[in-house]
């Protein structure tokens, strides 16, 4: 099996993680109307809470549930700030606020958990599920992939087919109008933030063994989450899913090509440029 193919396949495991994080980011954008930079810093905070509790002797299931709750609570707090003060703000203002919050949460997390302390993440699914193209595929990769696909289908059905989904869409697109139509705006929005925080924390707990397990590195997974969501045009869940996998696969491919390996962090940018150019291919400009 050629090396190029096997490293590409290997990248898909990370791709599934990017996809899940991207989907969660997209959900917050579509339903709470915020391009949210704090997502992975919050998720890493919850995940490290789990590690700290587990290290202190708390049984793993209890530690995981507590970590997820902490992630959900912190994300809800971020959402609370956005809902209370910036609900009617412009997109650019909201995004800038979350960037500031991201910096604050990262600084706080680094203090609490140590900037380069190794998180002892449990890796219960490290066993080999099957062998594909010279790569051992772990159960972690299989589960992450199934979750990513499941989340995509779930999001599409939830928003398109349920009454609650419809209300949430109304809420994000016209918050004031929605509130006037007796939709409990604040509560629903905070619910979205809570779910986003819980999903992100759980994703990071699951995929952390693939990545450098320090607080900082895990927080910076936000770039990949945004890249995946951008590929989906901040609109489409299926395209975000595909975007995550594409980013992972390209990252894997690039690492076996020595000439481009150093520029791996630029891959998301290149992918996004290509997607934007392709999606605008029918656009016409008139010079007057």
């Amino acid at each position: 099996m050629p090396l190029l193919l096997s490293t590409t396949i290997a990248g898909l495991a990370a791709g599934a993680a990017y996809a899940l994080l991207g989907l969660s980011n997209l959900l917050t954008y579509r339903l709470a109307g915020v391009a949210n930079f704090t997502q992975t810093a919050v998720g890493a905070f919850g995940a490290f809470t789990m590690v700290a509790l587990n290290d202190a002797g708390v049984p793993l299931p209890v530690a995981v549930v507590t970590g997820v709750l902490v992630g959900a609570a912190l994300h809800t707090a971020v959402g609370g700030i956005m809902v209370a003060w910036f609900a009617e703000g412009r997109q650019v203002v909201k995004a800038a606020v979350t960037i500031m919050l991201f910096a604050a949460i990262v600084a706080f997390g680094n203090r609490v958990f140590g900037a380069s302390t190794v998180g002892r993440f449990p890796d219960p699914f490290a066993g080999i599920a099957f062998h594909l193209g010279g790569v051992n595929i772990t159960w972690t990769a299989v589960i992450t992939t199934v979750l990513a696909v499941g989340a995509t289908v779930g999001c599409v059905l939830f928003l398109g087919r349920t009454r609650l989904g419809l209300k949430l869409r109304a809420l994000s697109e016209r918050p004031t109008t929605a509130a006037l139509s007796a939709i409990p705006a604040g509560g629903l929005a905070l619910g979205v933030w809570a779910v986003g925080g819980a999903v992100t924390t759980l994703t990071i707990i699951l995929v952390a063994p693939l990545f450098p397990t320090d607080y900082m590195s895990l927080s910076y997974l936000i770039t990949q989450a945004f890249a995946a969501a951008l590929i989906g045009g901040f609109r489409s869940f299926p395209l975000t899913l595909a975007g995550g996998f594409a980013l992972g696969a390209l990252g894997g491919l690039a690492s076996s090509l020595t000439v481009v390996a150093q520029y791996r962090p630029a891959i998301p940018l290149i992918v996004i440029l290509v997607v934007l150019l392709w999606s605008q291919r029918r656009a016409r400009w008139e010079i007057t």
Binding site: L3, S6, T7, A10, G11, A13, A14, N110, R111, G114, A115, S116, T117, V118, R120, D123, A126, I128, G134, V135, N136, T138, P209, L210, F211, P212, T213, D214, S217, Y220, L221, G248, G251, G252, L253, S255, S256, T258, A261, Q262, R264, P265
Partner: protein, 395 residues
């Protein structure tokens, strides 16, 4: 009003600094006044860098000397300044230390200080015996000698151990670049190739701090690497070994640098018993209760500093400085310390594999030897009873 206040505060600061400088110069020649030794340390700004272990242990060495009567009756005053891992602060802190009359630095543990200050040290003829050197300048400056091996020579040492002791012919080196380090990392591999006449199979410095390591390991596997050397710290070393296990690389030796020789890595990898993990200790392995470590350990324990290579570096650097000061007849000044270093006979320390030297060299890298430790049952065990000395030392 605000402008006036600003002017006044500038004038006061400048006057204060001048006063301090004059006082400093005045006291250094006085036989009853203390000898001021400075140290620059990244005490804050990077939580993963325990610089305090180095400076606290160095302080304990100087305190003991003072208790025993000092250097020819003169006490050592040890002043540590935090550079906050910030180049601007690192530059400022050195000027403050000189203003306080520092005749030399010892026990430094700084991430940014060597590169920022090397030229100023030369201009001021200040000698620095650093405890923990990080960037290439710490090992390539006429005024700095670091007592640790450092990341670059450590790579050469790991490669040398893998090829000459473990007998591997296909070696692969993965590097996560640090600022200003690319040329030195490449030189480390070239040095091994020259010393052994062998060729590296893969030398890849494209690993980024947030890289997923699976594709890199697959590359190493497909190239048939028998040993993988990786320079990163704990957060990346642990996933590397876990992913390598998932990809069935149990027959490959993984060799890391001193930065990964920690209890944290040992604990995190304790369950992966079938993986072969080594690290290069830059001093007598701190986890060993050997004769060589005895004095350092009892001193470190007496001040409540846990065993670490940083603490060992602080100890060796301070001990070395004390030896240097003892050789000086007459005034102890920046110039006389530098002169003493130039004519210094090699100083051996049982905690290092090669003696401390200075002489007329334009660069100093006295420590050219590591001891290899291997992970066994969740603990580090020394596997080379003697130091592995890297051939072709130019330091």
């Amino acid at each position: 009003m605000r402008h006036a206040l600003k002017t006044i505060s500038v004038v006061v600061t400048v006057a204060g600094t001048m006063l301090a400088t004059t006082t400093g110069c005045g006291t250094s020649d006085d036989p009853s006044s203390p000898i001021t030794i400075g140290a620059l340390a990244s005490l804050t700004g990077n939580d993963g860098f325990p610089a305090e272990d180095a400076t606290k242990t160095a302080q304990a060495v100087f305190d003991r000397v003072n208790k025993q009567g000092g250097i020819n009756g003169r006490k050592i005053q040890f002043v540590v300044k935090d550079d906050a891992t910030n180049p601007g602060r690192a530059s400022q802190a050195v000027r403050e230390l000189l203003a306080q009359g520092a005749v030399a630095f010892a026990g430094d543990a700084t991430i940014v200080g060597c590169a920022v200050n090397s030229a100023y040290y030369k201009q001021q003829s200040l000698a620095v015996v650093s405890a923990v050197g990080v960037d290439p300048v710490c090992f390539n400056s006429p005024n700095i000698a670091s007592v640790n091996v450092g990341p670059f020579t450590s790579i050469t040492a790991n490669l040398y151990f893998a090829s000459e002791t473990l007998g591997h012919s296909k070696l692969c080196n993965f590097v996560q670049l640090t600022p200003g380090g690319q040329a030195a990392y490449t030189a480390a591999v070239t040095r091994w190739e020259k010393a052994t006449g062998k060729k590296i199979t893969i030398n890849d410095d494209s690993i980024q701090p947030s890289s997923d390591l699976t594709p890199y390991l697959l590359r190493a596997k497909s190239a048939g690497c028998e040993a993988v050397v990786f320079n990163a710290a704990q957060p990346q070393v642990v996933p590397m070994v876990k992913i390598a296990k998932a990809q069935g690389m149990q027959n490959v030796d993984f060799l890391f640098l001193g930065v990964s020789y920690t209890e944290g890595v040992a604990r995190a990898l304790a369950d992966l018993k079938d993986m072969k993990v080594y690290a290069g200790s830059e001093f007598e392995p701190y986890t060993d209760d050997t004769e060589a470590n005895r004095d350092w350990r009892s001193l470190a324990e007496s001040i409540g500093v846990a065993g670490s290579s940083f603490s060992q570096g602080g100890y060796v650097a301070a001990q070395t400085m004390v030896e240097v000061l003892k050789t000086i007849k007459g005034d102890i000044t920046r110039e006389s310390v530098t002169a003493a270093l130039k004519t210094l006979k090699p100083i051996s320390n049982p905690m290092t594999g090669t003696p401390f030297t200075w002489g007329d060299a334009t660069s100093h890298a006295p420590n050219q030897a590591v001891k290899m430790v291997k992970l066994e049952d969740g603990a580090w065990k020394t596997v080379t009873p003697d130091f592995v000395v890297v051939p072709g030392a130019d330091g």
